[in-house]
């Protein structure tokens, strides 16, 4: 362990934590504005220009509220649950490459060789926060929310894991940086023929990749408890579900966890399907072609390239977050049995068959 690695890692951790937290607060603001615009309202527009300081006002409100613990709760788990809801959502971002390199430092906190497994392992811990909150609150609506959350998780974790297997059949290992590297060379997985467009057999791969993407996206929606699948929360049926008994900062932590999960979910989706930090830029040096930008060039050009990659990554994440919100304010919630049916009878099978399709294509293409 050299000190350079430790110091750069610490800097990256602090920077990414700060970035994620500010993104969370502005995602809440964006959610309110987007929902308002979709419903022909204006949304928060009072605090600061166009309401841009609203997250700060909200933060102060939540921090200054009385931290109240109801009498009949299981205090230990009641306090543990919000922490468990936030922690996994933020930790997952550690293995996601959010940029190429900046001054020679790779822009990923931990480039572990079990990348996607780490993501799934940690992300599925997030459900414990909700289940514990539901259990510890000692109240019927949170309890129902917790039960729903656990059954939702077992319905969706399977298809979530199976959906990404075709990608790793292509890439050959589980490291997320090599997933991005592969996409730079061969084209993004959402359209895997772009890099090798001369080989028409590769075009066939688009079919399993699109199926993969749809199943994965739907599973991510379920994993992050977003709208068509927000059964644990279900404001209308369960009065807020697992967080009914929570207030002030503990409630804010659940909120933060939900949005952080959304951001990390989008980040994983960007890494797996939308080429991570890669964005081809048009170039006119020696005729028109698509140039590749990263942080490897010396001096300020390299630094600019690295920053461009980071900006690209977070711009893609922001677009996906908008799509998350757009879908939330369009679709009604699924019924409980419909959700289980979808998870077990459709997406599990589709993901399973999809693996064989992808493997078949890979086995026969030259």
């Amino acid at each position: 362990m050299d000190s350079f690695l430790i110091i750069t890692s610490l800097l990256k951790i602090v920077a990414i934590l700060f970035l994620i937290l500010s993104m969370v607060s502005y995602a809440v603001y964006a959610e309110r504005r987007v929902s308002a615009f979709i419903q022909d309202r204006l949304g928060p527009n009072r605090v600061g220009p166009a309401g841009l300081f609203q997250p700060i006002a909200d933060m102060f409100k939540l921090l200054l509220k009385e931290d109240f613990t109801p009498r009949n709760v299981n205090t230990f788990y009641y306090w543990l649950a919000p922490c468990l809801a936030v922690m996994p959502a933020i930790i997952t971002i550690a293995v996601v490459p959010f940029g190429s390199t900046l001054f020679g430092v790779p822009m990923v906190i931990a480039d572990v060789n079990v990348g996607i497994l780490f993501v799934f392992a940690i992300a599925s811990l997030g459900v414990y926060g909700i289940v514990l909150a539901g259990w510890a609150s000692n109240s019927k609506y949170p309890f129902l929310g917790g039960i729903r959350s656990s059954s939702q998780m077992i319905s969706y974790e399977l298809s979530l894991g199976l959906a990404v297997i075709p990608i790793f059949l292509l890439v050959g290992n589980l490291r997320l940086t090599s997933v991005v590297r592969y996409q730079i060379e061969h084209g993004w997985f959402i359209a895997p023929f772009i890099g090798d467009w001369t080989n028409p057999w590769k075009w066939l791969l688009t079919i399993p990749m699109i199926i993969s993407f749809i199943v994965f996206a739907i599973a991510i929606f379920a994993e992050t408890n977003r709208m068509p699948f927000d059964l644990p929360e279900a404001e209308q049926e369960l009065a807020g579900g697992y967080n009914t008994e929570y207030g002030s900062m503990k409630f804010a932590l659940f909120f933060l966890g939900e949005y952080a999960a959304m951001i990390t979910g989008s980040a994983v989706m960007v890494t797996l399907f939308f080429g991570g930090w890669h964005l081809p830029v048009p170039s006119w040096q020696g005729g028109f072609h698509w140039a590749f930008v990263d942080g490897s060039a010396p001096g300020w050009r390299g630094a600019l390239g690295g920053l461009f990659n980071i900006a690209t990554f977070f711009a893609k994440v922001a677009v996906l977050i908008f799509i998350f919100m757009w879908i939330r304010w369009t679709l009604p919630r699924f019924r409980y049995d419909q959700l289980m049916r979808l998870g077990w009878l459709f997406f599990f099978e589709i993901a399973l068959v999809n693996i064989f399709i992808a493997a078949g294509i890979l086995a026969f293409i030259p």
Binding site: F37, I38, I327, L331
Partner: protein
């Protein structure tokens, strides 16, 4: 008696849901886009934009006392409004007009005239019942205050809101 709700037969396209989801997304995006382009009519932004100029003449805002052309408070302290007031928001203490006064023949005037604006329901019965046309509902609607005491409009405040009303009642003029 229990009965089965008939479920419509869906074809495969409808059962896939995806076309319907895409159609729904298109609708919500249209609303989002129209809002961004400023094509959607939205709520009036109250403190910046007000509807004061388009209030109708019959608008029932805060009740107020008026003076006539001679500067006399029109109210003769008959207390009809105090009796009619459904929430009992009005309190009047009548007083005598001294004989030396120009309007001595009116005999009474309100020493105190309080309207509790917390109680007032803006019904306009005081205006309807007033035989002297002395109390009117004006167009002030934003009555605010930090304390309950502040929300009681005394005579001076009521006269200030009311201003001067010309004509209508001329029976106390000296010429008549």
């Amino acid at each position: 008696m229990a009965f089965t709700v008939p479920r419509p037969k869906l074809n495969w396209r409808e059962r896939m849901y995806l076309p319907a989801i895409v159609a729904g997304l298109a609708i919500t995006f249209k609303h989002f886009k129209n809002m961004l382009l400023g094509r959607t009519k939205v709520t009036m932004q109250y403190p910046e934009q007000k509807w004061d100029s388009s209030l109708p003449d019959y608008y029932r805002g805060a009740p107020a006392l008026v003076r006539d052309e001679d500067g006399r408070v029109r109210c003769v302290a008959c207390q009809l409004c105090e009796f009619i007031c459904p929430p009992r928001a009005i309190k009047i203490i009548p007083g005598e007009i001294p004989a030396a006064d120009r309007f001595a023949k009116v005999e009474k005037h309100p020493e105190e005239f309080d309207i509790d604006m917390i109680r007032c329901i803006f019904c306009g019965m005081c205006e309807e019942v007033c035989p002297e046309q002395a109390i009117f509902l004006r167009k002030d609607y934003a009555i605010t205050g930090f304390t309950r005491a502040e929300m009681v409009h005394h005579k001076e405040k009521l006269l200030e809101i009311g201003g001067v009303m010309h004509g209508v009642v001329l029976k106390w003029n000296e010429k008549k």
